[in-house]
């Protein structure tokens, strides 16, 4: 038995005397190997020789003989198949050891993966999220305000927004591909759509959630319509908008990874998809962990910004 990637030389053994000589066999970890026991013998399988017992136990085709650390089976052709026991270990291709993942992290953060460094992959995914979210907010917030302030806008856009909101952005990928391809434009459109409805609903809620007494108070303090908008409605809606932004950023992050799984030249999703095709499980695991950390980091960052910028949230 030897580990993966280790070169072994077969130990010299006494071949013994008689018609069946002793054999020696090296088996790689997690693998099995056939023992052609008659290769060095005078009596061969062609000549009618057969193995009838292993370790003193009778052996027939279909039933293994347990020989301690390994199982031995008889093949249809009469050779022996040697299967070492794996215990509870798992092959690295399913779950690599933590130190392998760690080493791989060091490797691809310096020498990169598929033409881009790790930081570039992650950075590019983040960049797409920021652009998509920014555009979504740029359109979504005014749309939400308009819906909150004007019945006409609400009448027209409410059904659209309410319908689009529960549609998972991933379900839009095929349509976006048809419209714009899956290049940067397609991805940006997808993220824009992912953020748009969330931001529109959040800002509409922020506007229509203003206490009427606040608006009345401002009016009787002499504020004009525009001043009420500027000093009451907008600040009052900020906490809701921040909550929306936090949700939207999270959704965008998930969406960008999924979109990159479909096709991309760089990005976190592309990295794990390509690694998966080459069975580089350590990179896949590494990618998943990093994606999780970044998603969590985005959330923490938004919470922090919320505490700093809208400290009055939830204390009206």
């Amino acid at each position: 038995m030897h580990g993966t990637g280790v070169e072994v030389t077969l130990p010299e053994i006494e071949s013994g005397s008689g018609f069946a000589k002793n054999d020696v066999l090296a088996v790689k970890a997690y693998r099995t190997k056939l023992l052609k026991w008659d290769a060095n013998d005078s009596e061969t399988r062609k000549g009618g020789a057969k193995i009838v017992a292993v370790n003193g136990q009778l052996i027939v085709f279909g039933t293994d003989v347990d020989a301690g650390d390994l199982k031995i089976a008889l093949t249809q052709k009469g050779t022996l198949n040697v299967k070492p026991n794996k215990g509870i270990q798992m092959e690295p291709i399913w779950l690599p050891a933590p130190e392998d993942v760690w080493n791989r992290l060091k490797e691809i953060s310096t020498s990169g993966f598929k033409n881009y460094t790790l930081a570039e992959h992650l950075g590019f995914s983040l960049f797409r999220v920021v652009i998509g979210f920014f555009l979504g907010a740029l359109v979504g917030i005014p749309l939400g305000y308009a819906m909150g302030l004007s019945d006409w806008f609400r009448g027209w856009f409410d059904p659209i927004v309410e319908f689009m909101r529960p549609v998972p952005p991933l379900a839009l990928i095929p349509l976006v591909i048809i419209w714009a391809g899956i290049g940067e434009v397609g991805k940006t459109i997808l993220l824009f759509l992912a953020a748009l409805w969330i931001m529109a609903i959040a800002s509409r809620a922020g506007v229509s959630g203003v206490r009427i007494s606040k608006v009345h108070a401002a009016y009787s303090l002499g504020a004009s319509k525009w001043q009420i908008m500027r000093y009451v409605i907008v600040p009052n809606s900020l906490p809701e908008i921040f909550t929306g932004a936090r949700v939207a950023m999270g959704v965008c992050w998930g969406t960008v990874v999924a979109a990159e799984l479909v096709a991309a030249e760089k990005g976190a999703g592309m990295m794990i998809m390509v690694a998966s095709k080459f069975q580089q499980t350590d990179i896949v695991i590494l990618g998943i962990i990093l994606i999780g950390i970044i998603g969590f980091g985005i959330d923490m960052l938004m919470r922090w910004a919320e505490r700093i910028l809208v400290p009055w949230k939830g204390r009206g």
Binding site: S213, K214, H216, A217, A218, L221, G222, P235, N236, P311
Partner: protein
């Protein structure tokens, strides 16, 4: 003609089911400048509706409001309002809240500052000028609301249960504050309350309203507000006259409530 004139106001609300509620019917009332009026009445008799009409938030179905002879057509800074709670701006600190009115008129923050700080001294919040609204207690918040209203120098101050959410002790202190401010500033004040005691203490004139439709049931002229300025309100409450009036009004409102209940029972 100076003062506030409520002329023949009627108000009915359309209901979604096609019917309508008559919240006020033929309410007429004249207040001289500087008068302090408290309004009492069972729940749903149209007190808030009346105040909202005076403030200009609602347009009455019939009648009109005149202030110094000019017809009221909408909300304006000459009629300030103090709400029960939740009408302060949490995104501004105490000083910015109080300075809101002057700022809306284009007065620079620096110029308004002296007045704002003086008002905060008057309401006893000199040590809380930079604090956020949510860091204040309910009583302090109401003092901010009062100062914010005064910073605009309105002719009329309208208050809808301004002390309703406060504990008994804070409430008593605030009642003294309102009385003193009234005497010092000479503002016309209309104060809605659910507490008969408060109405007696804070009303030169006391209006009892009756429901369905909302209308003026009875009016009193009372000496307690004048007596209460610079005096211990608890002493005022020991007046024989005060106790008699309180019993009389409690009985009156009690009977109205009974009647409403009885009617709903018959209707049900």
């Amino acid at each position: 003609m100076s003062g506030l004139s409520i002329q023949n106001i009627s108000m009915s609300f359309d209901l979604p089911n096609g019917g309508s509620v008559q919240a006020l019917k033929d309410v007429t009332l004249n207040l001289k400048a500087g008068e302090l009026l408290s309004v009492l009445g069972p729940s749903g008799c149209g007190k808030t509706t009346l105040l909202n009409i005076v403030a200009g938030f609602l347009v009455p179905t019939k009648g009109e409001i005149l202030l110094h002879g000019n017809k009221v057509t909408g909300p304006s800074a000459e009629r300030g309002m103090v709400f029960q709670q939740g009408a302060l701006f949490e995104w501004m600190n105490v000083r910015e809240n109080v300075g809101f009115g002057p700022r809306m008129k284009g007065v620079s923050t620096a110029r308004a500052r002296e007045k704002v700080d003086h008002l905060l001294d008057v309401v006893g919040l000199q040590d809380f000028k930079e604090k956020a609204i949510y860091e204040l207690s309910g009583g302090m918040q109401q003092r901010v609301a009062l100062a914010r209203c005064l910073a605009n120098d309105p002719d009329v101050i309208l208050m809808d249960e301004p002390l309703g959410a406060l504990d008994a002790l804070t409430r008593e202190k605030m009642q003294s504050l309102v009385l003193n401010l009234w005497k010092e500033t000479g503002k016309t004040i209309v104060l809605i309350t659910h507490s008969v005691e408060e109405a007696l203490l804070l009303g030169e004139r006391l209006l009892v309203m009756a429901p369905r439709p909302g209308r003026i049931h009875k009016e009193y002229r009372l000496p307690f507000a004048d007596l209460g300025v610079d005096a211990d309100l608890r002493e005022i409450k020991k007046h024989d006259d005060y106790g008699d009036k309180r019993e009389e009004i409690l009985e009156m409102i009690w009977n109205m409530e009974e009647e409403i209940m009885g009617r709903t029972e018959v209707a049900g």
